[in-house]
Symmetry: C2
Subunit: 315 residues, 2 copies
């Protein structure tokens, strides 16, 4: 009998097909494990797959007494209580860098869409506004990317790829992260100074207690009235209420957001704004990125069931 | 009295403000000169500003017997009858490369928007589709850019910048142009072979009789059912009826278009399609590109009125 693996998050069947060829999947479809399966069924589960952003605490771990491995589908593991896992001798693995290029591409897609006002432009053509020379404030000349200042917050694999892409777009690129990296971009020791310097601030930092709401009202004030915020990391890094206020009052100019404080994001005041581009957490959602993430998940699970260390451990 | 310059195309007052500081502008607001001004007024006009794509033939030239210079606002000059100008000893100038980065940026913006389905994604979030887990074919995983094949048609300043940006996005880049260039990308001697090879074909070629409708039904067939067409050059390069058929019948997958056979483009079957992103010829429309294009226009006019050769002649 193939090894049993619980699916703790809502992940599509199509995405799990390759993994299902190798393991027996107990799919909760995103429900708490004890609602989807009996205590007896859960008692033999030794490994699970989860989306790293979804909360996974001691309470859930304790419903699976045999649990030995938590394997995150994707780069993030901020939802996993690492201390609780360690205390129970549960290994935690992820899919490092497997989706970095796809996420960096989406950051640049959002940047370009916001800066060149792509949504308004497409509407202007389709509605006949262009044909009738209808005046449109959204169609006044935007600043353009050439020479504009991009601040990248976070210099992991994704941040590096964003910085390289922005540089290829002939933009000025600087960054902030906990420590200086060996990259050809100027370092700001303080995020506040980076926000004040840049026109476009891109959040590419790992989520965690130390980055929770670091983009707050004061930081947005520093970014300023010409500023654009792009977030492809995690919603928790940005104080979303402060962002909504800043966008409504034009404290900043615009935003491109792939992630939200609560996901899936419901239509609200934020999604009614004209100066935002919103995507449903699709940064890593490409066929090639999924292929590589699945490779990592399969490698981690195979190693675990063979009694070996995880191939891609998070700690 | 400052030198008189006729404005032959519909160009915004804001764009002309810097030029108006130096020259007296006779603005036709896009009307034929003889409708906007008397023959007597036109008889003293020695220079005009035009948008390069707008038709400007012998008939118009002959309404201004003193005309000595046609200065194109932008890179293109395909609307100007160069032979007629030469026969009348009228110099023709343009703004070479002034907007190349802005146009290349828009090509990449369209590529990313089409490939990552940005418009559908934004609608999915705003409409509440994401929050209610509504099934959406547009939200299935797209191929992703990494390793995808980009064919660049045309290797002028804009083509080069597009190729460099696509390479920074970790895509495979090849190109076709009349001759091989000293660039780090593989050359296809035949456009048809490039179209068959690539996933995404980007039109960045100069418009003219030799490129009229070279992207026709047969070429789109070669691009194929997974193919995407991006056009930021001129509408005349693409057989738009054939493109509409190819998109409707899924002979190709999608398109991103900044230019059209007739501009401004009116809402029609093309603009009703879901698998296209349309922008109103805004490739070079950024504040920084306009600044540089105006610099070129002013330099050309200043030289002309000083009796010197144009600084940026097209021939």
């Amino acid at each position: 009998m193939p090894d049993q693996v619980l699916v703790h998050s809502r992940l599509s069947k199509k995405l799990l097909a390759r993994i299902r060829e190798r393991f027996t999947l107990l799919d909760t479809y995103g429900a708490p494990p004890l609602e989807a399966f009996s205590a007896a069924e859960l008692s033999t589960v030794r490994a699970l797959i989860t989306a790293g952003g979804q909360p996974l605490g001691a309470d859930v771990m304790d419903t699976m007494p045999a649990l030995g491995a938590i394997v995150c589908y994707g780069t993030g593991y901020d939802g996993v209580d690492l201390a609780a896992a360690r205390a129970r001798n549960i290994k935690v693995g992820n899919s490092p860098a497997a989706n970095a290029a796809a996420v960096a591409d989406l950051a640049i897609a959002l940047l370009l869409a916001v800066e060149r006002r792509l949504l308004a432009a497409d509407r202007y053509v389709r509605s006949g506004g262009w044909a009738s020379s209808a005046p449109s404030p959204a169609m006044s000349a935007p600043r353009g990317l050439t020479g504009a200042k991009v601040g990248v917050f976070g210099m992991g694999e994704i941040g590096r790829k964003i910085a390289a892409r922005a540089a290829a777009l002939e933009m000025q690129v600087c960054y902030h992260s906990r420590s200086r990296h060996d990259v050809p971009f100027d370092y700001f020791a303080e995020l506040a100074d980076l926000a004040a310097w840049c026109d476009i601030l891109i959040v590419a930092v790992r989520a965690g207690p130390d980055t929770h709401h670091v983009i707050d009202a004061a930081m947005l004030q520093r970014l300023g009235s010409g500023g654009t915020l792009i977030n492809i990391a995690r919603g928790s890094v940005v104080d979303q209420a402060a962002l909504l206020a800043a966008l409504s009052e034009r404290t900043i100019a615009a935003a491109g957001l792939d992630v939200f404080e609560i996901e899936p994001h419901k239509p609200d005041a934020l999604s009614a704004l004209p100066n935002v581009v919103l995507t449903p957490h699709i940064g890593g959602h490409t066929a090639s990125a999924h292929q590589r993430m699945q490779d990592c998940v399969i490698a981690n699970l195979t190693a675990f069931f063979a009694g070996e260390p995880l191939v891609y451990p998070v700690v």
